[in-house]
Symmetry: C2
Subunit: 361 residues, 2 copies
Amino acid sequence: MAAQPPLTRHRRRTFTPRHRTRALMRDRDGAAAILNRFRPMVDEAIGRLLSGRPDLLLYQMVRYHLGLEGSRATDQGGKRVRAAMCLLSCEAVGGGAETAAPAAAAVELMHSFTLLHDDIADGDDIRRGRPTVWRKWGVGQAVTAGDALFALANIAAAQLEAEPETVRSVLAELNEATLAVCEGQQLDISYEGRADITVADYLRMVERKTAALFAAACSIGAQIAGSPAPRRASLAEFGREVGLGFQIQDDVLGIWGDPAEMGKPVGSDLRRNKRSLPVVYALNASGGEQLAARLGAGVRSDREAAEVAALIERLGARSFCERMVGERLARGIAALEKAEPEASAADDMSTLASFLMERSR
Amino acid sequence: MAAQPPLTRHRRRTFTPRHRTRALMRDRDGAAAILNRFRPMVDEAIGRLLSGRPDLLLYQMVRYHLGLEGSRATDQGGKRVRAAMCLLSCEAVGGGAETAAPAAAAVELMHSFTLLHDDIADGDDIRRGRPTVWRKWGVGQAVTAGDALFALANIAAAQLEAEPETVRSVLAELNEATLAVCEGQQLDISYEGRADITVADYLRMVERKTAALFAAACSIGAQIAGSPAPRRASLAEFGREVGLGFQIQDDVLGIWGDPAEMGKPVGSDLRRNKRSLPVVYALNASGGEQLAARLGAGVRSDREAAEVAALIERLGARSFCERMVGERLARGIAALEKAEPEASAADDMSTLASFLMERSR
C-alpha cells in the first residue's frame, strides 16, 4: 500500500461508519504511541524540577496530583496531551522536541494546577479514579499545592535553553494564556444554573478556559524552534480548534460517557447544573423549557442523571455537539495545513487531534 | 542640629523609652512618606496591566482585593511594603526606581495572591476592615481571582525593560520565592493545633512563608540596577531579616493588637489554634502545659481570647518576641551596611524597617 499524504486521510476517512471505526482504532493506537513517545521527556523535566526540594507534604501532594508517586509514573496524572501538542508543534517547524521539553513541562504543570483548583471550586471528589487532592488533604492545603504547581510551571519555563528574549516571550505567552484560563473558569462558575446562556456565551467561556492553553502550547513550541509569527499563528489556531473540540467532547463524555472508563462519577455536570454545551444547546432548542424545569428540580441520582441525559439527547444536543466537534477538527486541520508543517509531525498532530475528538475517556 | 549618619541613629535610639517613642513617631511619618512616594509608581504599573482587560467579575475581584476599586486607590489594598523594599533596593545600588516598577508591581501582586488564598485556607472573613473575597464571591471564584493575580504578577515581570537575561533571572527568582511561600503556607497549616512545634520549626516556616518574598524583593530590585551578586546577597539578607521581624510583629499584633487599628477581629490566631511565635514560645516555656490545656479546650469569645493572651504574656512570650524583633532589625541593618548602599536609600530602608517592626497595624 502506498504511503498516504498525511493530512488528507483524516478528512477522507469520516465518510462511512466502517471507515470511521477503523480510523478511530488506528488513531487510538497511533495517539497512544505519540503520547508515549513524549511522556518520558516531559516527566523527566518535571522530575528534575522536583528533585532536591525539601521533604514536605507540599511536594507529596504535587507528585500525587501529577501521578508521579511511588516508583514509576502512571497515567493517573493525565495523558500529557498539551505537552505533546507543544513538542509536536516544535517539530512541525523543524525544531528538536528536546529543546522544548521545559516549556512542554511548564504547559503541563500549568494545566495541572488549573485542574487541582477546579476540583476545589466544583467540589469534585474523584479525578481519574482517585480521591482529589482537596478530599485527601483539605481545601487549604489543596489551594497551596495548586499554587506550587503554578510556580513550578514558571520555574520550568525560565529554565528553557533558548535566546533570553524567547524565554521572556514564552513566559509572557504562558501567563497570558493562564490568565485567559482564569477568565474562563470565572465565567464557567458564573454560568452555573443560569437560564440565559447561549451557545455563543458557551464558546466565549471555553475559548478561554480550554482553547487558550492548547493554542499557547502550539505557539510556544513553534516559537522555541524560531518559527516566524504567521506560521506560529496558524499552529496556535490549530491548537485553539483542537482545544475547543476537546472540550466539547469532554462535555459529551460528561453526560454520555462510561463512568468506569472516565474515572469519575457520571452526570456530575448535571448534578452541579453546569452549563456544558449539550445543556446549553438543549435549553435553547425548541422544547428546552422541559429541560429547564427538570434541571431546576435538581439531579440527585444516577437514574435521574440518565433520564436527563436521554431528554438532552432527544432535544438534539448530542448530534449537534458531535457535528460541532467534527467542524472544529476540520478547521484545525485546515489551520495546520496553512502552517506548512513537516510531514511526520503533521501526521502525528492530526492523529492526536482526531483521537482527542473521538476519545471515550 | 547636625545631620545624623543614616545607619547609626536607629541603633542608638533604642536606649530609652522616651527616645523610643520619639523615634517611632518620626519613623511612622517617615515611613508613610516613603510608602506614599512609591505607591503611585506601583499602582500605575498594576493599572496599566489591568487596562484593556475584558469587563469580567474576575477583574472586579482583583481590583477589590488590591484596593483599586472606584475612582481612586486606597490603602485598603495594603501598604505596598514589599514593592517599596524592591524599589529602595534598586536605588540603594544606584538604579532608578522607575526601571524596577514592573518588578515591584510583580512582587506586590504575588504577595496579594498569597493573602487572598490564605484567607480561604484560614476561613478569615475580614481583611483590612472589609469582607474577604471568598466571603463576597465564594471559594471557587476567590481561588480563581488569586490565580489571576499570580498570572498578572508574571506578566508584569515579563514586561520589565531590562536585559532579557535579567528578566529571565528575575522571573526565576520571583517564582522560586513564591514556591518557598507555598512551602511555608503548607507548614503553617500543618502546624495548626500541634503540641510539638519548636521555635526552630516556627522559624523554618516563616523564613519561607514571609521572609523569602521580602528577600526576593530586595534582591530583584538590586539585580535590575545591575548590582553584582555579593551586594545583592547582602540586600537579600536585609530583606530576609526585615521579613522575619515583620512576621513576628504581625504575630504579636495578632494577639495584643488593637482590633480597630488592625481591621480584623483580634484573637483569630488563637481561635484557629495557629502556631504563631508567642504561642510556640509559651508552649515550650516552663508552665506551658497550662496553655496547652487552655488552647486544647478552644478559644471562642473575645473574653476568652483576652484571658489566653494574658496567660501567654505571663509565660514571657511577649517580651521574647519583642526581643527577637529587635535582634532581627539589628541584623537587617548590619546586612544593609554590608551592601554599602547609597545614603539616601539606606536611610529610607532603615526608617521603613524600623517602622515595620514597631508598627501597631
